[in-house]
Point group: C3
Chain length 348, copies 3
């Protein structure tokens, strides 16, 4: 008998529903371990009292813990034989996850596109995470390049789904009792609110962090992501452990605290590109660009659409692409997402 | 004044009872940290709801956390001056340990056998873990080779205990309200139940994991195991940190998920041999052999006796020993134990 | 926009009150992660039942977790541009911190002293930690050498606060319902109590621990200490990660268990000097000197004032300084503090 060796391109069917094992109960401990892995300091995830003053029932799990947990569960069924994780789109967080809640994950196959080489194909899935009561907590689309079992197999009828490039501000809803009416700026670490950020502005997050091999191993296991390339040094020809892309998302988000201290909650993920692979001992710096703004005009809640970028060099010019529109070689992550941020009353 | 330098062979007496310091309260956090160290995905330890559907009061601590915690407490009194940890036998888990419970450990000296060299001797102990109410949770026998204080001391009256090589299926009891009547196979990750495994069959667990130095250090400290060879690079002539044998047991058990997804609970430990030492950056693969089967004929509960093997090479032939009956040099663990597994109704 | 680049010497004013971001809720998980990082085995922090038998309401967080948490919060405002963390004094712990409590940190600028070079100056602050109810849990003074923004700026009126070198025994109070009346010595790991230690006596803690790079990274992040030199290998000319001094305090305290098993609670910090920098793969040994004794003459509670020393070599002579009174090059920490220890009834 042989354990799961993973699916190949031919093993997917359009419309197929996949239930992913194993449900995972998240606790206070997952928040603390997350804080021991990433230099994050956002007040909502750090302080129970701060979170409750914002209308949460308890200190919620960091949204990226929820994202990684759902993602990790999809790996054995979707990306064990993936050549590359190509992109995300249409990601939305629907409700907070509190300590003690359990996440289950499901995916629907949206599209299949055989590559011209015949060796592999793109698999598009819509994945969702539900809590123990079957309530939706997160939904996102991703597409991966998956090996074919029989490379020179017959012709194939491609189906590529239409994807929106970003979650429009008109789609944004505040699905829970969030409020920023009694927001303590000094405890949050900054008095910069919604009105202090301008569309087109760049924020330099100053700090850098050199990734240690242990950082991503503990993180990736915590989310029960069992992709071989992260753990088995025999899985790649260079015998290196490839760092899980989501690790970089969390690291860049944590670094972004310095300059975006009040951007408390990740609310939607429009897209993410892992531009270059990352290995231990690389040092990551981050900057953000304000792409869009939206004011809910309720309970002091507003939103920023940000592009946060991870880079292997500290670049004061915060340059993303070269003249031909190609990513610079130092860029490792281009992440487009919405955050919730308080709108402070005008200062005199 | 000098702290504890550990006992020597002469310091033990047959029948002696040793109370080990320090009691340890285990929590949800220990489960989460365990999941961040080992790639484990068994549903009972991962999901509170899954565990409760199986009759548990809460998500139990992984049984191996309990084993390592008891083992760790015995180290200062039993194996601080051990040359080698030679074997385990007659291990039984008597009840689940839930978050918030506290483990105490005790040992009784069962046997003493001086080696012919006169430099060392075998110490046989029966160790047990109790919870905060004094209820037995785990019992096992182990024997270690311990240095003598005075190598050329007088002759010694050996006493070697009789040990059963395995826990017989007739000794197995289900000591708690376990039931597999409403078992969710898709969430557990596989539809292979008791009837799908045949005595003599081998299961290839496919995945490998390269051990990083940080993995075993965090694990071994978590269990308060203070054996010098794991932590002080001056303790061995090669200046390497020796990996705690129990780390390999947990790693092989975690890897065994792939192929034994429904083998939810480790129930008894018949024996374990750490065949070769292991150091950081070694990659471990695993396979299992089904040694015996037992059907409780109650609440869909059945048991498999498994030999799970850890190997430094991925060997499709799953070979354990050479023609002379000696372990192959790539073998690092030979672990013989019972697991509880559901018996599914026959599929048409 | 640019994130916080840290304050310079000119940015402080005598008497200024600084509220530090971000509050941090500490949980059982922080205790468990602490135990996975340091080889600590003190019974009060390890066992809920043991702690409650000593009068605690629950298992308290290790006092050094509280110290590091408060310290970490002060870093962005006090020591981001620090050249050196020079000393601590007058540290007192006022009440236990239990899982679920939230720590906020505040500092008052006590003194400023420009260095003769004009390039930097000493900043003296009194920092305090409060719980979610605004109750004081910890207070201490520290002084750091901070870079000047404009090195050749005008003359400066120095103000240096008077600091007591130690917390006098007459200042010691037991601020909570602690009692050692039903103390279980065998579970604590030793029968050595207050009367077994003599002023002037040295205790050899026997064990050593080689620090792995991952150890201090996880610890320092856990306390949200974002000082660049610990995380960004570009921050120092030697491209090494400097180990946070507090990591050594925790490691030496953990090693001191072997010989001071009943020194359950750190109660006051008189002073601490980080004599030499420490990097990964250094091995740390520890010894302690009994400096002073104090008997509360109530509920079997007594106190020892200890000097615990961390050393890069295992020195049976336990020598601290050379003939000229300079620290030996192997010494890395000289830590002066009070611990609470039970006074056992005289043994016959």
């Amino acid at each position: 008998m042989t354990g799961n060796i993973g699916r190949f391109f031919e093993d997917y069917e359009i419309g197929e529903e996949i239930s992913h094992a194993t449900p995972r109960t998240l606790t206070e401990a997952d928040n603390s371990i997350y804080m021991s892995i990433y230099p994050t300091r956002f007040a909502v995830n750090s302080s129970k009292e701060f979170a409750m003053a914002c209308g949460f029932k308890d200190r919620p799990l960091d949204e990226l813990i929820v994202f990684h947990t759902v993602f990790g569960k999809t790996v054995p069924d979707i990306s064990l034989n993936a050549i590359a994780n190509l992109g995300y789109a249409e990601g939305k967080f629907f409700r907070p996850v509190y300590p003690g809640e359990t996440i289950r994950a499901y995916s629907t196959v949206l599209g299949l596109k055989q590559n011209s080489s015949g060796n592999s194909g793109l698999v598009y899935v819509r994945s969702r995470g539900e809590n123990q009561n079957g309530k939706l907590v997160l939904e996102y689309t991703r597409w991966v390049m998956v090996k074919k079992r029989k490379p020179l197999d017959i012709n194939f009828k491609n189906k590529i789904p239409e994807l929106s490039e970003n979650v429009n501000s008109c789609d944004l809803q505040i699905p829970y009792d969030l409020n920023f009416l009694e927001y303590d700026k000094s405890m949050a670490g900054s008095d910069k609110g919604f009105d202090d950020y301008i569309v087109g502005e760049f924020v330099d997050h100053v700090d850098g962090c050199t990734i240690h091999e242990s950082d991503h191993l503990f993180a990736t296991r915590l989310w029960q992501n069992n992709s071989k390339v992260h753990f088995d040094t025999n899985a790649r020809v260079d015998n290196k452990r490839l760092i899980y892309g989501g690790h970089i998302i969390s690291l860049v988000r944590a670094l972004s605290f310095n300059g975006l201290e009040n951007a408390q909650i990740v609310f939607a993920i429009n897209g993410g590109s892992h531009v270059n692979p990352i290995f231990a001992e690389d040092t990551i710096y981050a900057w953000s660009e304000v792409l869009e703004k939206f004011d809910f005009e309720s309970r002091n809640i507003a939103a920023l659409r940000l592009r946060s970028v991870g880079s292997k060099v500290q670049d004061n010019k915060m340059q993303l692409k070269d003249k031909e529109g190609k990513y610079l070689p130092n860029i490792i992550l281009d992440f487009d997402y919405w955050v919730l941020i308080p709108k402070f009353h005008k200062r005199s």
